[in-house]
Symmetry: C2
Subunit: 273 residues, 2 copies
């Protein structure tokens, strides 16, 4: 590729991305650079539309001419700063194997732990979830069930990791995701006499009557390690999803973490109606 | 790599895999070769243990010496044909970026559509599910909820695709997965006066009383296309997962297909208790 300075145009008359700009955008694949620049990447028409309609700030939108021609209407109302790029440049900056033609750089939100209010509504707390697809799906599912805050342990994968962002299908722009010291946070919740539910292999069935899930925190652990031992004493009510298959030796040991989260949220929010 | 015939030994004294054998094992990544040879690949200690304890036939087990030393007990009872391989050979035949040290080639089961019996219990029918992780998770979840048969449309991803097999976490050895012409199958079910439930955006809430899910079929469509139009007339009861968030413009459009399946199966099987 020719090394042109910003402001140079290619054969199509587009301004071309500088090497430094490409380096900056691709650096946002790593958490340390997202943290340093307080920015993250969003890709695809649906995701960018959700971003533009959200409270998040779109710092810069990179799009191919083909995409711009097809999406005039979307850009008319939002008016983000746009930089046209060639297909080749889009391939360089995209995180996807089939780049969808539009990529936005957005500002990270500045939620604090005080934005997660378990006194008024249920908060989802995630302990050591490492799979980006699982975390993204959990955020999307929480959004469906009216959860507004998700609190993550420091070792949970970053919610603004490109794979998480894409898996949320836009819910990342509606849900307050806050990283914190989970044990410390849950300690404070316990002192406020609010319920701390934990998804465990043994506990009260999620379908038993009498569970009040209109406030408090639901803690989900990782699929391989469960809820860590330092957090277990802070759980005030263990919850379990009963297994239908009666023969323990001929049944799965566990459910996928995002599946378990969905089943519990569904039972707690809708199953009670 | 040196081209040695089967039976040659390498410096560790192991018999080495021939190029043809390596080519055969890696060919099983593709559906047409799985179909041709009626075999598929299983990787990892947990998955291989599940295979050896199942009704499936283990044709050949390839393992590194390290793995064999650590898993003597597992092999004592099952006695599959074992071929020791070097780490380098394992890297060549494995489908995983971090090969777990053991890979089995297993025979495909010979279920027919008559093995799916919706007269006695609920059958899960999948219409055009293309994501291997989603299909694997659905099979695992179905297993948890006591479903014994999953019927798949011809354009659903093959259940014996390596990524599906791994995502089932062993449930693929307990669940009868049968590929068929879904419209034809559901037509026959309808004639038998058995209920055909369909997961749709509008329908009866899964939490409404009076749903009998002890028999019949639950149809799940793909996330992007839903249930195809030729199948819709065969649905006798549309089911929906109510969205808690009341503001349609500020809520997710849909749920992930494997998440929706789990929530519906949970409500139909346990929520009624």
């Amino acid at each position: 590729m020719l090394s042109l300075k910003p402001g140079s145009t290619n054969e199509s008359g587009f301004f071309m991305l500088s090497k430094n700009r490409i380096k900056f955008i691709t650096s946002l694949r790593l958490g340390k650079f997202r943290e340093q620049h307080r920015q993250f990447v969003v890709e695809g028409t649906k995701m960018v539309a959700e971003l533009l309609h959200s409270s998040f700030h779109c710092e810069q939108l990179y799009a191919t001419q083909g995409w711009l021609d097809e999406n005039e209407l979307l850009l008319k109302s939002a008016k983000p700063p746009i930089e046209p790029v060639s297909d080749r440049e889009m391939n360089q900056i995209s995180n996807l194997s089939t780049p969808p033609g539009v990529l936005a750089v957005a500002g990270l939100p500045e939620w604090t732990i005080d934005d997660a209010s378990p006194a008024d509504s249920l908060v989802l707390a995630l302990d050591g979830i490492s799979d980006p697809g699982n975390l993204g799906t959990m955020i999307r599912t929480a959004d469906w069930f009216g959860i507004s805050s998700v609190v993550c342990s420091h070792d949970t994968v970053d919610a603004y990791h490109p794979k998480v962002v894409q898996a949320t299908m836009g819910s990342v722009f509606r849900i307050k995701v806050i990283e914190t010291d989970l044990a410390e946070y849950l300690g404070r919740i316990s002192q406020q006499q609010l319920p701390v539910y934990g998804a465990l292999m043994h506990g009260k069935s999620i379908y038993e009557p009498g569970l009040n899930a209109s406030r408090g925190v639901l803690v989900i652990g990782s699929e391989s390690h469960g809820i860590r031992s330092s957090i277990l004493p802070l759980i005030s009510q263990a919850l379990t999803i009963p297994r239908v298959n009666p023969d323990e030796t001929a049944a799965p040991e566990s459910l996928n973490a995002s599946i378990a989260t969905a089943i519990i949220l569904s039972a707690l929010t809708l199953g009670k109606a």
